[in-house]
């Protein structure tokens, strides 16, 4: 009997936990996020008590002091003593509230003595992570397929909260985030860490976390950053330090190898089919958000690539703008975001898709001339 009950209760636990988290602030997985949650609940309960008293008095008055019950109103309209009381008491409550809030704030803003430092850079509409202590850096893009967003496919469990390459951090270590932006203001937010920091172009903000529990933690960009603001999630995986160490060493090796591969590829050329196939994939993942899948852009905001002069005639201008971007516009420099092969493919794709049919094939070596070291 009792075993059954325990089983039943245990089965309900995750449900209870999820029911709670879908309506209230998360308690998170760090000491700080727990303290923030406690502050939140404290101030919430204080508000509830004040609310019950004030609204209670109002409702009592509405019932017993209505004209049918109390035809002759009282005439008092001043009482200095009462007014002083209801000025001083709220003031004291505020002081009681300010003390723990101040302590938590100091703890949150203390970014000293970090074990790991990650530079987080926002741009329209992706995050870039660079590990300071290791030769590892990469972009992290939304992984949800466009077909799900457009309701042509069923939405997955982590719809809009999934990325191709999550940030990986070690558990039990103080991880410092340096947050900045390449274009507009973004805001890097992981609710489970109680970390939300604006990414300001030209300035670097600091935040930190120390995660106790391994797991996958999801957040989103919190500051309106243009058209696809709703489509740049943050995913962080916290791993045990040993696992983390293994992961980061592997990444270092992979990225080193990729760079060597790049050099080797310079002398190779790809066929049109290869270029177009890879190019389409890269285009849809990196370019279509602005220039649209049909290449027509959004008039007045994002230029069209279909039959326009640069794409049809100006080959070097085209490669240059993809590799180095255009200052003062939304056009990013993709030279450091994509490999030479990918750049060559996407430029080839743009010059041959949607009826552009220039017949130009761009190879890695062509692109390499425009890469500024």
């Amino acid at each position: 009997m009792s075993t059954k009950l325990i089983t039943a209760l245990t089965a309900m636990l995750p449900f209870a936990a999820s029911a709670q988290s879908s309506l209230n602030l998360t308690q998170g997985v760090t000491e700080i996020s727990q303290r923030v949650y406690d502050l939140h609940m404290t101030i919430f309960y204080i508000c509830c008590v004040i609310g019950v008293i004030v609204f209670g008095a109002m409702f009592v008055s509405m019932v017993i002091h209505r004209k049918s019950k109390n035809p002759k109103p009282a005439t008092f309209h001043e009482n200095v003593k009462v007014e002083i009381i209801w000025t001083v008491i709220p003031f004291l409550i505020l002081i009681g509230m300010a003390i723990p809030a101040t302590q938590t704030l100091f703890a949150m803003e203390d970014t000293s003595e970090a074990d790991v430092t990650v530079l987080v850079t926002g741009s329209q509409w992706k995050w870039h992570y660079k590990y300071f202590e290791h030769d590892v850096e990469y972009f992290s893009l939304l992984a949800t397929r466009q077909d799900q967003i457009n309701n042509r496919l069923d939405k997955g469990e982590n719809y809009l909260l999934e990325v191709d390459r999550p940030l990986v951090i070690p558990t039990g270590k103080k991880v410092r985030f340096l947050v900045t932006s390449d274009d507009v203001i973004h805001s890097w937010w992981v609710p489970d860490f109680a970390v939300k920091k604006d990414a300001n172009p030209g300035f670097i903000n600091e935040a930190w976390t120390k995660v106790d529990k391994p797991g996958i933690y999801r957040g989103q960009c919190a500051e309106l950053c243009g058209k696809d603001h709703g489509f740049m999630p943050v995913v962080v995986i916290a791993k045990e330090p040993a696992e983390y160490q293994a992961w980061i060493s592997e990444q270092e090796a992979v990225q080193k190898q990729a760079k060597e591969e790049e050099q080797r590829l310079l002398s190779m050329s790809m066929s049109k089919d290869e270029l177009m196939e890879l190019g389409e994939r890269i285009y849809l993942g990196n370019c279509a958000a602005c220039h649209q899948p049909n290449g027509e852009g959004i008039p007045g905001v994002f230029p069209s690539l279909k039959g326009t002069n640069m794409v049809m005639n100006d080959k070097s201008g085209h490669i240059d703008i993809v590799v180095n971007g255009k200052a003062g516009t939304s056009m990013q420099a993709f030279g450091n975001q994509l490999s030479l092969r990918e750049l060559a493919a996407v430029i080839t794709y743009e010059r041959n898709a949607w009826g552009n049919n220039t017949g130009d094939l761009i190879q890695a070596a062509d692109v390499n001339q425009f890469v500024k070291e």
Binding site: I50, S61, P73, N79, L94, T104, L105, I185, A222, G226
Partner: protein, 528 residues
């Protein structure tokens, strides 16, 4: 012919009103101008509201169904701009135009020609703003807060129109504010000392100073956006020695007092209605005046609480947290005073009173979430989520707009000479009350659970909440059509209203007949 007749009439009795369209175009009468402001604000309320309907329809389900994200951003932006500058602010100016001269025993506003001008530039401002939606690249899509560099380097060319229209709105507001101040300082009836003025006059007096102080700051902000975008300056561009966060400091130095510009006149309205229907004098008149002044003063030193996540020194965060928390003290005093006014009164529940009571409760709920938002460490979690959206809609919709509804019902008999249809009005009230809570209360939960604001699509965990919110939104939108019906019906006829239709109402406005004659208080009344 008619012009000549009009001219002759004009010379004969200089207070004859011209008829037809010119009456409205050239009028300098505070009642005409007040009516135009009120109608204009109601039209804008419907226009901005229909944009909210687009937003809620898109958010009804996860996925993109109706609009693309770029247009969605235009809707949130223009909805905000229209509601703030086109609906709430002109409604208050309309009420001030109608009621301030009647309440202080003045024949008109002090600067009637400027009054005409400050109204008539408004339709042009909003025509420009709305027209920008049809430009190539669309209208403003950077949020009503237009943070740089999203509004500079990365915005479409409609930004120039946006800047120009905000300039016009600002000029209109400043002229309106000057008029209110000059009227109140110079045209009070003999015996109407400052501390005898009705609270609506007092709160508007203080609001007008806030307007004059901060609208030029907004003008500066939009001008710097304009020059950054088109003339190569770098106020907000780090690459040129500027700072994007500087924009936010300037914007919110305007923006926070602006918030109180949209709520202080409400306090005045509620302080007129609750005593009237409680048949008891307002409790703590002078503390109400001081509390209003204190709130206005504090509004200048709390702006950075909108920017806790921008990366400020911890000392600044603490200063702005404490200063913001302090605001709850004078605000609390006001709420306690209203409750004390009701206490042992003789209360009846006509529609103005119902809206006023809903105001006190729902505005206080908005105040509670405001206090929670003031606590910096927790604000990091709340910031830029639907919790904030819930908070400011509680204070602006069930706060400011409910108070405007209350005012409209309270003074409609004076304006039209007819009693409004109480049954229909009660329908309007109960539909609005239920739907407004269905609309905004669940937003608290969406925000706490982690839904960011200003997103056109969301993850599946927020689907249920958004569906409820959208249903509440559609219901609230439709409920406002009942209001339109009540007002039109009341303007066209109905039971004759006496000079003082409310038993417990006090003030000079109730000493003139209903409807108030075209010219009132040509001989100033004596106030004892």
């Amino acid at each position: 012919m008619s012009t000549v007749a009009g001219e002759m009439d004009h010379t004969d009795h200089h207070h004859h009103a011209p008829s037809g369209i010119t009456r409205w175009l050239f009028t300098t009468n505070h009642k005409d101008i007040g009516s135009m402001y009120l109608w204009f604000s109601f039209i804008m309320f419907l226009v901005g509201g229909s944009m909210a309907m687009v937003i809620r329809a898109e958010l009804f389900q996860p996925g993109l169904q109706l609009v693309d994200p770029h247009f969605f951003n235009q809707m949130t932006t223009v909805h905000g701009l229209i509601m703030v500058f086109g609906a709430v602010m002109p409604a208050f100016t309309g009420l001030a135009n109608w009621m301030v001269p009647l309440m202080i025993g003045a024949p008109d506003m002090a600067l009637p020609r400027m009054n005409n001008w400050s109204f008539w530039i408004l339709p042009f401002a909003f025509a420009i703003l709305l027209a920008s939606l049809f430009m190539e690249g669309g209208g403003p899509a950077f949020g009503w807060t237009f943070y740089a560099p999203l509004s500079t380097t990365y915005s479409s060319d409609s930004t120039a129109l946006f800047v120009f229209s905000v300039h016009i709105m600002g000029i209109s507001s400043i002229m309106g504010a000057i008029n209110v101040i000059v009227t109140i300082m110079n045209m009070r009836a003999p015996g109407m000392t400052y501390m005898k003025m009705p609270l609506f006059v007092w709160t508007w007096f203080i609001t007008a100073f806030l307007l004059i102080a901060v609208m030029p700051v907004l003008a500066g902000a939009v001008t710097m956006v304009l020059t950054d975008k088109y003339f190569g300056t770098s106020f907000f561009d780090a690459a040129g020695g500027g700072d994007p966060v500087l924009f936010q400091h300037i914007f919110w130095f305007f923006g926070h007092p602006e918030v109180y510009i949209m709520i202080l006149p409400s306090f005045g309205i509620i302080s007129a209605i609750i005593p009237a229907f409680s048949r008891k004098r307002l409790f703590g008149y002078s503390s109400m005046v001081y509390a209003t002044a204190a709130i206005a003063g504090l509004s200048f030193i709390v702006w950075a609480h909108h920017m806790f996540t921008t990366g400020m020194p911890v000392a600044a965060e603490i200063f702005f947290m404490y200063a913001t928390m302090l605001i709850s003290v004078p605000t609390g005093v006001k709420v306690f005073n209203w409750v004390a006014t009701m206490w042992r009164g003789s209360i009846t529940f006509e529609t103005p009173m119902l809206f006023a009571l809903a105001f006190v409760i729902l505005f206080t709920i908005g105040g509670f979430s405001g206090l929670m938002l003031a606590i910096t460490p927790v604000d990091f979690q709340y910031h830029d989520t639907y919790f904030v959206v819930a908070h400011f809609h509680y204070v602006l919709v069930s706060g400011a707009i409910f108070s405007i509804m209350a005012a409209a019902y309270y003074w409609l008999p004076k304006w039209t000479g007819h009693m409004y249809d109480e049954t229909l009005a009660k329908w309007h009230f109960w539909c609005s009350l239920i739907s407004v809570n269905l609309l905004f209360f669940p937003m608290h939960f969406a925000g706490l659970a982690g839904m960011p604001r200003r997103i056109p699509d969301y993850s599946l965990q927020f689907a249920d909440i958004n569906q409820i919110v959208s249903i509440g939104g559609f219901a609230f939108g439709l409920s406002q059509l009942i209001f339109l019906w009540v007002v039109i019906k009341c303007a066209r006829g109905g039971e004759k209203a006496p000079a003082k239709p409310w038993e417990g109402a006090e003030g000079l406005e109730w000493t003139v007949p209903s409807p108030a004659p075209y010219h009132t208080f040509e001989t100033p009344p004596e106030v004892k």
